[in-house]
Symmetry: none
Subunit: 217 residues, 4 copies
């Protein structure tokens, strides 16, 4: 049987993919998306440029691989939480924590691949889908909260997008200022706003200028 050399090959292949991922991340971190050339990735990954093209048909495919590998665990964690038996509010808290941890640990990749619109363009299908699916999952949780009577009736997708954007925005700001918050602090601010903001019996919403939302007053 070839299963031995088969396994060996797969192992080697897996190791190479690891090397590529880490190399690419290192390059993205130091040089930015535009500065991420195949040459640099190859060197950082400790292999020849040609070898990259044996695994990935193009730079685009390589970046999609990196994106996928970076985002997948987060998406899976999110999907799992969505399936869990917790209440919607609890889920939001759990997600926030997981995200924070993840973003903190992989800030470099996310800085370029999650929020970079140039990347969005480059990775159109992959990335858009990915962000979109995250928003979908979040929306599902918000809807759950509405069904549970914990959240008030609201445009769930809009809130989901707000939540995702606000989460990323906070992290970005911290990156930019070089003053990261603790996970606890960050989650508290974020959820402090969103949970209250979604709560059913809220304080009067002093709308001055919003058409006829009289029932919210």
């Amino acid at each position: 049987m070839a299963s031995l050399s088969q396994r060996r090959k797969e192992l080697l292949d897996s190791m190479m993919r690891d090397a590529v991922y880490e190399g690419a991340v290192a390059v993205l971190t130091r040089h930015g998306l535009n500065g991420t050339t195949m040459d640099r990735v190859a060197e950082a990954a400790g292999m020849a440029k040609g070898s990259l093209y044996n695994r990935f048909r193009s730079k685009q495919e390589l970046l999609e691989f990196v994106h996928e590998r970076a985002v997948t665990p987060m998406r899976e964690a999110l999907a799992e939480i969505v399936q869990d038996e917790m209440g919607a509010a609890e889920k939001l808290v759990a997600i926030s924590r997981i995200w924070r941890e993840y973003l903190g640990a992989h800030r470099a990749v996310f800085e370029f691949l999650i929020s970079d619109l140039a990347a969005h363009r480059l990775l159109k299908d992959t990335a858009q889908t990915s962000r979109s699916s995250v928003v979908d999952d979040m929306a599902t949780i918000v809807e759950q909260g509405m069904r549970e009577g914990v959240f008030r009736s609201i445009d769930a997708r809009a809130v989901a997008e707000m939540f995702v954007s606000a989460s990323i925005g906070m992290v970005e700001q911290e990156f930019a200022r070089g003053q990261p918050r603790s996970i606890d602090d960050a989650v508290e601010v974020l959820l402090g706003v969103f949970l209250r903001g979604l709560s059913v019996s809220g304080p009067a919403y002093a709308s001055s200028g919003l058409g006829g939302d009289t029932d919210e007053r």
Copy 2:
């Protein structure tokens, strides 16, 4: 009088700058930041490449011009509102409306220049400062609300960043889906969350996992 040819020149110059702005925006829209080459901008602006370099010393300078022209009015409107005599909540509402209008009208530019990290990198000084100043203004308003006793005590910068990111995020999502919300709807969702989220006597905040806020469900 020289004032005639003078005026004429200024007019022409102004028209050229308009053409450049619109050309650049068109190219940014169609090709993304990376695909925005001087050649394409020149063609879109209906002039020769060399002419671009008569106005702008470099691509960087041209992009800064575009960024500036796109963002300035918004920043000015924001600054004005910050100075106004309104309450903090009212200010947030006003800002949201203005932003919405603006973002809707200039979606293309903002899609690339406000939230594109590659642009941030390219326009480091200009763009960073610009986004930063927006966040600063927002934070000022949040602080005002805290002083007025309308908002609870909270990390104002964090909230400001969340608000800005959430606002942009919503618009982006709408762009991506091709289903823009009405200004009223958008502002209602956004402020519905943030005003409640910042209100003093809110509903209990059901934190599960944050420090010791266990009994707040």
Copy 3:
């Protein structure tokens, strides 16, 4: 008569040419031959680029004008000395002094136009001719010395070229080191070598390796 406005025009034209010359020299000095653009010359000359093209059909022509104006006085002085009633040795001395003064006063132009082969190429006809004519005049003097019996029989053109090159070379070296010699010192070294070198009854020339130059031993 138009002679008044005629004169006026000529005067203006003459002033403009002066301005162009001085501007061009300033630019050559600061930016080198390659850095000498029509834009810079125009600005340094205090006029519009288009006006340059009213006087000179091309950059080439402008540079030829500059070269001509820089070199002409030297050539004329040289020609005059050639015609003079002095002995050949005296003429060499006189020429050396005049050159020195000239080179010192116009080092910038000469640094680029006399010894720069790129300029030679650019100014092929003008410059080559000019250098050539200088060498011709020098050769004439050397021949005079030979006829007078003061100089020994020798390849006059070769000596002339050596003399010219050595003169310029010394100045260049001084420019490069930033340590100009006094005119007296420079002339003394230069002529100290060449006059002895050309003298009839010289010291034995210890040629080791020169074929059969027996009469010089």
Copy 4:
């Protein structure tokens, strides 16, 4: 063994460098320093433009390589002669011959790289140093002659520069006229002048106009 492909690679590399050198020289010869574009060099070398950039990081580096390769052997020969046990006069003769041979064989390169001030500017460090070191070596020989009592007391650097310039000047003139002298003729004229010019008991130096050298008349 890797030594086979190793050797093969080195051989190829060496051939490429030869091709580049010869291509560059050809282009320099035909188009001058300014006309020496990477495109033309690539074509003349029979390779793609990009390949040039695989070997040389920039045009500057490529030109330095050309300069180095052209000048090094001469400099080495010169340095060796300086070290030799010969008398100063003999050394001058030896050097003259070697130079002649070299300049004759590589006239094209030297026409641009040795005496071209634009090149000096471009290759500042490399070229300046190179010419300077040649002059230094020559000065050393002159000083040796002075110590030996063969040459009279004189500004050695000045004479060295004169000698170098005169040597190059002669060759240039010959290039320009297309009438090369034989090595023997050239060396005879050159040294005929310089050796006499440096000799101790020379003929009276007929200075007319030099400060106080009155007794030499």
